[in-house]
Amino acid sequence: MSLKYGVLGLLAEEPLHGYEVKNRFETMLGGTWEVNIGQIYTTLQRLERDGLVRPVGARGDRGKLLYELSPSGRKALVSWLAQPDSGPQQLHEDIYVKLLLATRVANGGLPALLGRQKRAYLQRLRDLNQLEDRARRDGRNDLAQLIRGALLHTEADLKWVDELAADALGGKTE
């Protein structure tokens, strides 16, 4: 959903054509979300169909078409920005399913799995730290804050794996 609103948000700054939307969107996300130009054009067409954006003038050089935000597009954007994210929490990573299966499958190797997962989280924390530093050096405090969010998430994941490991250890010695 947020690609749609990402496009609306960028058009709220100034009219843009498809390629500019793609480039600005990817720059804003600092490489954490790559989109293909096809997705952008499809999104623009849907937004135009729904009356949230409209073309400015005729097709220019090489068929480029500028889009601008319509008043109802601006209203939709403002209302979206005001809404907190209240949907279910998204757990995208395989580890959650692996954990469930490792406890069911004989020789599922839960302690070893947790040990390797801990390493992976530590490495990710280090990578995220470097990324945050780079964002700050580049004057991208907004991006640094996004990465900070990822850091805190990974820290929570690490604590979770530590808890599971302590549980597994406790179970073994009993």
Binding site: L3, L122, Q123, R124, D127
Partner: protein, 244 residues
């Protein structure tokens, strides 16, 4: 790289079953490494640091620093070892309230009988960004300033090993970042640092090696990569792919 610290089968038992005991720890740390030790409270991580610092002795096993077997030293020898080779930074600074910042910095130097340490003490305070606090008393300093004074005190004798036990634990985020940046700077200049922390973000930010201690044992010893990765290899913002 040369080995600076070696622990062999170290066991530390406290009478009365006080937590923080060590239960068979072997470990090698090389010169120039920035190592973090992580673990829950009572896991034994501070005990580990105290044994390496020569502040405490193991119940059994060997601790060697810079080739010196600490078990072979008497009390006076151990005190000399601490003074000449170890700088220690604590969570709560441990500055003497009746001495000025500079006098605090100079304590280890005076123990060593260095009259001319004054210049070096002032220079350290300057390097740490607080030259103006030299004549002030600890009570007049902020937490961040006090911790920097404590770091200067730890560095006054050019220690081979800098040990830091939760050095940002009593500081606000900003002062904590400044203190950690100072430690990182010292590490870039070649200082071997062993940091005890419960903060994984902090540990992985500065240390390429993270040792996890649980119930008196090393349960993980991770050497992390430092290669720069592109943002998309590290974090992705995802959403529902289809927009309708």
């Amino acid at each position: 790289m040369t080995e600076l610290v070696r622990l062999t089968d170290v066991i530390k038992v406290y009478q009365g079953g006080i937590t923080g005991a060590l239960n068979g720890v072997s470990l090698s740390i090389e010169q120039g490494e920035f190592t973090a030790v992580m673990g829950p409270s009572g896991s034994g991580k501070s005990t580990l640091l105290n044994l390496i610092a020569g502040l405490d002795r193991p119940t059994s096993g060997d601790v060697a620093v810079g080739g010196t077997d600490l078990g072979a030293l008497g009390e006076a020898g151990l005190a000399r070892f601490r003074r000449d080779h170890v700088g220690f930074v604590f969570q709560f600074f441990h500055l003497l309230p009746n001495l000025t910042a500079l006098e605090n910095v100079l304590i280890p130097a005076q123990l060593k009988g260095r009259e001319s340490a004054d210049t070096r003490g002032r220079k350290l305070l300057e390097t740490l960004g607080i030259p103006e606090v030299a004549e002030r008393y600890p009570a007049k300093l902020s937490g961040g300033q006090q911790q920097r004074v404590a770091i200067a005190r730890a560095l006054i004798n050019n220690p081979t090993l800098l040990l830091a036990d939760e050095p940002t634990g009593a500081l606000d985020t900003h002062s904590g970042d400044q203190v950690m940046d100072l430690l990182a700077q010292l590490h870039r200049e070649g200082q071997t640092i062993l940091l005890v922390t419960h903060d994984a973000k902090l540990a992985t930010r500065h240390a390429a090696r993270v040792i996890s201690v649980t119930d008196g044992k090393i349960v993980d010893d991770a050497r992390l990569e430092t290669t720069e990765r592109s943002a998309s290899d590290v974090v992705r913002v995802r959403s529902e792919e289809t927009s309708r």
